[in-house]
């Protein structure tokens, strides 16, 4: 009986009639599971702009968190992590709004986003979070320049160091995780079934990709081996947590998760994110866990670059797969009509 839908009525063959009579279920059309298999829901229209915004948003938030942590807790030699992190945050904060505005149906009305602050809408909260993050990133970079004597005026000194780092890190963490809330709090089955994991996965991926980008920058520019070691330790934990959460998401979502974890999308996600973007870099970074930063020798540039490249690509595939799976899931009436738990 499974799979008897209204769609079957269109082709009434003698065999199908005989089977129906044998079942004694009253014939066709008494077991309709949907309306001609038409979609029940509508997916988000989001295309490459939003995939890249989710990706860059994660990268910039992670970078800002690392910069704030390194500035507060770091030792001598971690200055490059602070500097690079602040610059990455500012560049990301400059690109993100452009991507978001380009995605709008009426880009010239982008300022309407700031008419109100609506706590119930993750989109509204996210806009304000991004705006705060941009401002704090600009202040952080000004401070960086001021510290190096490049900015003569006092603009960078608006906030004392401690609160400034804390505010930047908090705005970053919110900007990096609200996108997970944004997609979880929709009617799209594959997204809302991952509401326990997706925001945490985004935070982990944000920190992991930022560690990768920073480690690659340091390796390329002959930076401190100690800093690279520290970044690789953080990346190891963030990546593995992300991997565990992804597996948990896949197993708890069950059939509803097929749009993301089944078929070609699932294969691509497993190959590029779970294996390529998490497991392989974790193995490559494993040595750093057992070496104290002070004992870290000359950085292995090739190894660092390979691990970083794989992590960065895996993070991109994660965002792309999630957004595309959202549309597939919304178009699948069986997922939409399944009773929620």
């Amino acid at each position: 009986m499974a799979g008897v839908t209204h769609g079957d009525i269109v082709q009434i063959t003698p065999d199908a009639v005989a089977a129906s009579l044998a079942r004694g279920d009253g014939g066709f059309g008494r077991n309709q599971r949907s309306y001609y298999d038409h979609p029940v829901l509508r997916g988000a229209h989001w295309r490459w702009e939003i995939i890249w915004y989710f990706y860059i948003g994660g990268l910039m938030s992670g970078s800002a968190i690392l910069a704030a942590a390194a500035d507060t807790f770091g030792a001598e030699g971690d200055e490059a992590v602070v500097r690079n992190g602040r610059w990455l945050a500012l560049v990301g904060a400059a690109i993100s709004p452009l991507l978001l505005i380009k995605d709008l149906g009426r880009p010239e009305r982008f300022l309407n986003m700031t008419r109100i602050l609506k706590l119930k809408s993750p989109m509204s909260v996210g806009v304000w979070s991004l705006l705060s993050f941009s401002g704090l990133s600009a202040i952080a970079v000004l401070e960086e320049l001021r510290g190096r004597g490049r900015v003569p005026w006092l603009l960078g000194g608006l906030l004392p160091r401690g609160p400034r780092n804390l505010a930047h890190a908090l705005a970053a963490a919110f900007t990096g995780s609200y996108t997970g809330v944004l997609i979880s709090a929709t009617a799209v089955p594959v997204w809302n079934s991952g509401r326990r994991q997706i925001p945490a996965i985004f935070v982990c991926s944000a920190v992991a990709t930022a560690c990768a980008a920073q480690a690659a920058l340091l390796a390329l520019r002959g930076g401190s081996a100690r800093s690279i070691n520290k970044l690789e330790r953080i990346e190891f934990v963030a990546s593995l947590t992300e991997g565990v959460l992804l597996v948990d998401y896949a197993s708890s979502a069950g059939e509803t998760g097929n749009a993301l974890f089944g078929g070609e999308t699932g294969q691509r996600l497993r190959a590029n994110t779970l294996v390529g973007g998490i497991a392989v870099p974790a193995l490559l970074n494993l040595a750093s866990l057992f070496t104290k930063p002070s004992h870290a020798g000359k950085p292995n540039v090739v190894k660092t670059l390979i691990a970083a490249g794989l992590t960065l690509y895996g993070g991109y595939v994660l965002r792309k797969s999630l957004i595309e799976a959202g549309r597939a899931s919304a178009d699948d009436p069986r997922a939409a009509l399944r009773q929620p738990e």
Partner: protein, 257 residues
Amino acid sequence: MIDDASPDMGFFTDVTLCIGCKACEVACKQWNQLPSDGYALSGNSYDNTGRLSATTWRHVDFVEQFDRINPAESRWVMMSDVCKHCTHAGCMEACPTGAIIRNEYGAVYVQPDICNGCGYCVPACPFGVIALEPDQGVAQKCTLCYDRMKDGIEPACAKACPTDSIQFGPVEQLKERARRRTEELLARNVPARLYGVDEDTSVGDLNAFFLITDRPEVFNLPPKPVLPSTYQPVAYLSGFLATAALAIVAMQAFRSR
């Protein structure tokens, strides 16, 4: 001047009275000046409209149920679908600009001059109703004929319906009438039930509700619609916990010597 005393208005759509004439679809298109959707034939009974969209605010479902053992039991059920104007509307909660409001008649209304086409209301609707209109770049759906109501006339679809399958009026009155109608039909052994009234769902009662004679999914209605914002607390918590954990990890890593 907004008349706060106006009761919430809505639709009661009764499938047992629908004859599938599509006058509601046509009247809606004409009054609201919505463009044609083309001339494609779907092959699915007489339904060549498919579903509600940014340019189709009424859509008649054609459900064919043939019973080959008792042919006399065969049915052809038609239902005119429309925006439900939920008590707790997912689209309205999701809208970041405040373009989607509840107007003085209790209807969920998109202000077309405020909407900037971010599209977040679209996946936030548990019924798949609201959609982006590509030419104007804004989200659109049924307005409950806001402009007609301002002049004290009923919406175009209800006016055009020849069998009163679509009834328009104060929601509380319509609900009373619908409950009586359901009892009448049940007494005549018609498997009638109300969809969107007296149900325990997070979207609340629907201001545009339905009397149906089969399970909701047969009419492409979700059996248990969920308001998406109910997913937010656990999602925010998920992000917060991960942030706290990674902050500790980063602190330890940068402190290590």
